[in-house]
């Protein structure tokens, strides 16, 4: 146990919380105060107690723990803390691949052209393939995304509301009787309320989906903003990233920037089955996917084992209320779901939808609402 200098530990402790804040932990003033209070009550000379005093006051999520461990080790030095048992994950950062750079040569010819948009062009743009737009069209389409009006699907809740018909509501009936001095009053009825059903968006951001990733994340932003408490969004690639928090910001550009920072595996490989399993283990089975409408945006290219993908889709199907698969290529003429991945997933999907244009995304919103 390293003996720490306890003559005046305060500046050091506050510095530690600043370092944690920079590492992305939620160390607001309230938490720092709680931390200092906690440190006062433990033996500061004991590294284990110092470690735990900080961990219980400054962390708020299992994702915070590796970062806390790292910061603690580097700040207080030498103290080998494996008490958490969580592997320290090396943070990888990446930005959203600038899709509009035309790096892959598509749309190069149109790049410099000004686009004057008339009403009829808007109609045309709605049906254009999102993967084949020029810069100007893309910018204009972003504006059009604002016109989308997602409506949450509803489910029955276990709470009741008063109604004219339904089951008898003894509590309200008795209350009315008491008000009437015990005389039999009019019977009161109640019915179950409805609540928004949770929607989970899983967006494939692997290399083969690169032309669509930006638009689909923007679409996800619109849906998340429409009901922040009831929509969750994740990206799938070589790993799973939860982007709901990033996408809850109002400003689309900021939200996209935050999402880009969170997602480390843009345009990488696809291990759809495996990331899906991580999603189900960490989030889905615990309750996030239960009775939810789950929308998977992917072209179904799977480099891993397609049997695993099929197995995980079956698992997802058993948990969720309904599973929609959106494939940007499904809207093309002559499309056949023959890619090994989608062929394995298709038996466990309620609907396979196109999602390559604004018009098809609008159709998707209607499907989600009625799911």
């Amino acid at each position: 146990m390293a003996e720490t200098d306890v003559t005046d530990p305060l500046p050091g402790l506050v510095g530690f919380t600043t370092a944690l804040r920079e590492a992305g932990l939620p160390c607001d003033r309230h938490r720092v105060r709680t931390y200092l209070d906690a440190v006062e009550r433990v033996d500061v000379g004991d590294a284990t107690q110092l470690y735990w005093a900080g961990r219980v006051t400054l962390c708020a999520d299992p994702d915070d723990l590796p970062r806390y461990d790292q910061a603690f080790a580097s700040w207080f030095g030498g103290a080998d803390q494996d008490a958490g048992g969580m592997p320290v994950r090396r943070e990888q950062r990446a930005r959203i691949a600038p899709l509009s750079d035309d790096g892959d040569g598509e749309g190069d010819t149109e790049a410099g052209e000004q686009l004057s948009v008339a009403a009829s062009d808007v109609e045309l743009l709605r049906d254009r393939d999102l993967g084949e737009l020029s810069d100007a069209e893309r910018r204009h389409l972003r504006e059009l995304f604002r016109t989308l009006r997602p409506v949450s699907p509803r489910r029955r809740s276990s709470r009741l509301r008063s109604a004219h018909r339904g089951r008898l509501d003894p509590r309200r009936t008795f209350r009315a009787m008491i008000a009437a001095g015990g005389e039999p009053a009019r019977l009161a009825y109640a019915r179950r309320r409805t609540r928004p059903r949770r929607v989970v968006l899983l967006v494939d951001v692997s290399g083969s989906m690169k032309p669509y990733a930006d638009s689909l994340l923007r679409f996800a932003h619109v849906v998340v903003r429409s009901a922040p408490a009831d929509v969750e969004a994740f990206t799938l690639g070589t790993r799973l990233t939860r982007v709901s928090r990033a996408l809850r910001q109002r400003d689309p550009e900021r939200a996209m920037l935050a999402a880009g920072e969170a997602v480390a595996d843009f345009a990488g490989g696809t291990r759809l089955g495996e990331t899906l399993r991580v999603f189900l283990d960490r989030w889905g089975q615990r309750g996030l996917a239960r009775r939810a409408v789950v929308v998977v945006f992917s072209d179904g290219w799977e480099r891993g084992d397609t049997a695993l993908l099929g197995e995980q889709m079956a698992r997802l199907r058993r948990l969720a209320h309904s599973v929609l698969w959106v494939n940007p290529h499904a809207g093309r003429d002559g499309y056949e779901p023959v890619q090994s991945g989608i062929a394995a997933a298709l038996p466990h999907v309620d609907r396979l939808l196109a999602g390559h244009s604004l018009a098809t995304l609008e159709r998707l919103l209607r499907e989600v609402r009625d799911a």
């Binding site: 219980v56 006051t57 962390c59 048992g85 089975q285 698992r315």
Partner: protein
């Protein structure tokens, strides 16, 4: 009106009266002392749990426990109440839980009967004010766990699976935890003489609002390591031998590294040990493991996967 001790009230949850002989919570002077107290009643806490619970006790802040199912979140609250000899009040959250189910409710049917009885007794010359006053008294108040906790404090209040409740309930709970007071319009104010020791648990089916987390100490529980799990088995399962405890713990550690839908927790280890003891086994072999595997694994996919490699899993 201040709180009275929970006499005669219909205490929901499992409240038992505190004996005054118990260790005074304020006398617990270090995490190690608390750890020893917990060990006395068979809950073997690691440094993290001991420090978190100690701080929660000393700082008067609720302890928010998250972790895989079966890592001992709920049993921590039970163990704290036993070792500190405080009553345990348990509130199990579920979807749609509201103030009436969590805090208090008036017993309307009984109030109605009472009113009728009064009317009959007084022969129609009912004094309206008196009658009304007699309706809103202790005997018609149904105390639910939160009110019970406020009235019987010091106690341990376990709010189990808070992630199952709706956000509206979370906000309501937040206010209650902040003020340790509740006002019942027809009755008066109930204030906890001393804030209860609150333990909240969550399985992360939903992210709990940050405002609630900020008021709590946050603790993430892990599965115990090998030596601790052996110790837990030996402390909790009567008549278990060292050999069987070691075998079960080692197998459990191996099972947790396999990619299972539901990795088994300590609760499953205890179930398994009890199942084997009930069959009179002192040792884990392939045959007894195969017949009792259902105590450990709860998904048919997991069972298939493990059965196929049973010898390797048993080591």
């Amino acid at each position: 009106m201040t709180s009275e001790p929970a006499a005669g009230g219909t205490a929901a949850g499992t409240a038992r009266t505190a004996s005054s002989a118990g260790p005074d919570p304020s006398s617990v002077s270090s995490p190690a002392k608390l750890s020893a107290l917990l060990a006395d009643i068979g809950y073997l806490a690691d440094d993290g749990v001991a420090t978190a619970a100690f701080l929660s006790l000393r700082m008067g802040k609720p302890l928010f426990c998250e972790g895989e199912p079966g890592t001992g979140k709920t049993s921590l609250a039970v163990a704290l109440s036993e070792s500190l000899e405080l009553p345990l009040v348990r509130l199990q959250c579920h979807e749609g839980i509201d103030a009436a189910q969590a805090l208090y409710e008036w017993d309307f049917p009984r109030q109605l009967l009472h009113l009728r009885a009064l009317e009959a007794a007084e022969g129609g010359r009912l004094n309206v004010d008196d009658a009304e006053q007699s309706l809103y008294t202790e005997r018609f108040l149904l105390a639910r766990p939160l009110l019970t906790a406020l009235r019987s404090s010091p106690c341990v209040l376990l709010v189990d699976e808070i992630d199952r409740a709706d956000d509206e309930f979370e906000a309501f709970l937040l206010q209650l935890l902040d003020e340790n007071t509740v006002t019942i319009p027809e009755y008066g104010e109930v204030r906890a003489a001393q804030p209860p020791l609150v333990v909240l648990t969550s399985n992360r089916t939903r992210e709990v609002h940050d405002a609630l987390k900020r008021r709590c100490l946050y603790h993430w529980l892990e599965h115990p390591d090998l030596s601790r799990e052996i110790a837990i088995l030996r402390a909790r399962v009567p008549g278990i031998g060292r050999r069987l405890a070691e075998q079960i713990a080692e197998t459990l550690q191996r099972l947790r590294t396999m990619e299972l839908l539901k990795p088994p927790g300590v609760a499953e280890a205890l179930d398994w040990a009890n199942a084997l003891r009930a069959l009179g086994r002192d040792e884990l072999d392939a045959e007894s493991a195969a017949t009792t595997l259902g105590a450990v694994l709860k998904f048919s996919e997991d069972l298939d996967r493990v059965r196929a490699r049973l010898d390797a899993v048993l080591g």
